[in-house]
Symmetry: C2
Subunit: 335 residues, 2 copies
């Protein structure tokens, strides 16, 4: 008779913590006391401000274990937080991980999730300094707190855009949404592999954010975790400006457009309102465009000018023949 | 026809955040950017180390909404984290709150939970600098990250106990377990009101922890979130010492003993292995006992000497006529 494969419920808390430590053994000078005491103790960075963010991934809301491998869950849980730091122009420093584990979660999936989390953490030299483990009668919840640092007056806020500033976005939008649609439908369209990759393995724009901040190249910045439409609306409101976004300029992969069009929606609207693109939207003062050039010389990330800030109010989407209000973004609760 | 009372699903994310801000409007000098950007920005404390901890409360594991009012959930979610800072001798500085909300959660309960969280935060002058809100198809999860500060070489660790050090515990143990038993059974025993209070409204020993650290009065410290037996075992292992704990000295309320005895278990074992007592266990070098006296002059918290550290190994419970190994503590996963 085959033995059932073990689940996390077959291990003690100490054994699970030991698995976590195996995968996140990156050590850093700033850590005075790491995992294993009531709390972690770290040396603050000198002459820097501290930047903190927390984000939770909930099974059934942010991922579906039927088509999201545990590695992608672990990667994404950290990536979405690094993306928030990127949007502030901050350098990642350390992380805390709080897990609510269903008793049925296979130990092997737990292990793969942590291995992938650890891999991304190591790439950013990020020690895991502490966390929490608990059972849950509900879905898997992966809650990550990340701390970073930024120089005084170099933090990128949402509120610094002024009329006349140009609006930029990094990478491409809508790819993750197309990838998710593909995974949900169980399709195996080879031309969409890049979209699936973008959904499963979002790449936080940490370096771009850091360079924008250090060079004082952006007047405002936000990440696209809840979509481009949402980010543009937030930056517009926080800065007290309007925006005109040029529909034709939005960088969308042809493959993504093709897949999104199949769902009987306007693919542009779908791409603008979809979450899961961890790109940056930022604004640049035209006379400081040389600072942006300095940034671009130091990174491979593509950026695209997609519009301009106005005296407002509101964000308009210019479709050539007409201007419409920007479709409203993603909200977690209202719908 | 009566209108159904609204749930959190009837509000947008922005509206829920606004409710949170109403209740946690405490502002502090250290906050450069609070709620409302991609991440929070804070000024680090000068000449201090940073102490960080995260703890999650999961409905169905850590609380039962049938007999735990939302105020108690909000209070406890922060209190358990403050207790971890207390155990390190750290001063609370700021907090992040990550909530996974079932769509059915009544808006009114959400409001009460946040009001109570905010009340405790204000008592400790703790600004809520950021957080995360998400829906969940599962139980309510309240995940709190708290940051504090401690002077160099003043952090209380689990690892500093040496043979000969005396073992102390603050307050009383087992009361919360008795209170929980009472609530679970729906009993309304007036003599147990204090136990119910202790379960619902744990008081983190922040001041005691701070004083122990500042005065260099304790050689090791840990909180009792998972019970006294668990804390003694952890301090013993981390410090590489043994312990003899005197059963007769354990401070247990008579009312708690009476209630715990009704569950057909040895009430002492029940009190030692129950979680939810947010007291501190700490060790003191006998020749430095005058430092402990200095601490006690500055706080009303009672403390009790319950044992002594030995060359070990292991933690023994001395019941007068015999010594047994300490009953094993609370674990989240194995049982």
């Amino acid at each position: 008779m085959p033995t059932a494969s073990p689940s996390v419920a077959d291990r003690t808390e100490a054994e699970l913590i030991s698995i976590i430590q195996t995968h996140t053994s990156y050590s850093a000078d700033c850590v005075v006391v790491g995992i294993g005491d009531d709390a972690a103790v770290v040396e603050p960075a000198r002459n820097r401000l501290e930047v903190l963010t927390v984000d939770a991934l909930v099974e059934g809301i942010h991922f579906d274990r039927r088509f999201t491998p545990p590695e992608a869950i672990g990667h994404r849980a950290l990536a979405v937080n690094l993306s928030d730091l990127a949007a502030m122009g901050a350098e990642p420093r350390h992380a805390l991980l709080s897990l609510a584990l269903p008793a049925t979660l296979p130990l092997e999936e737990f292990d793969r999730l942590l291995a992938s989390f650890g891999q991304l953490a190591r790439r950013y030299r990020l020690p895991l300094i502490g966390g929490n483990l608990t059972r849950t009668p509900g879905p898997l919840v992966v809650d990550v707190t990340v701390s970073g640092t930024v120089r005084r007056r170099r933090a990128l806020l949402r509120s610094g855009a002024r009329p006349g500033d140009e609006v930029y976005v990094s990478g491409r939008v809508g790819s993750a949404a197309a990838g998710l649609a593909l995974l949900r439908a169980g399709e195996t369209d080879q031309t969409l592999t890049s979209c699936v990759e973008r959904y499963l393995w979002p790449e936080p724009r940490v370096r771009l954010g850091l360079l924008l901040g250090r060079n004082n190249a952006a007047t405002a910045c936000m990440d696209l975790s809840d979509g481009l439409a949402d980010a543009a609306t937030h930056v517009s409101r926080s800065s007290g400006v309007g925006m005109i976004i040029d529909a034709a300029a939005i960088p969308i992969e042809a493959a993504a457009t093709a897949r999104l069009a199949r769902d009987d929606r306007d693919p542009l609207t779908a791409a603008l309102t979809a979450g899961d693109d961890y790109e940056l939207l930022f604004t640049v003062r035209p006379r400081l465009r040389n600072r942006l050039r300095t940034v671009l010389r130091q990174t491979d990330t593509t950026i695209t000018r997609i519009g301009v800030c106005t005296t407002g109010p509101g964000v308009l989407l210019n479709r050539g023949d007409r201007s419409d209000p920007m479709p409203s973004g993603f909200t977690h609760f209202h719908r």
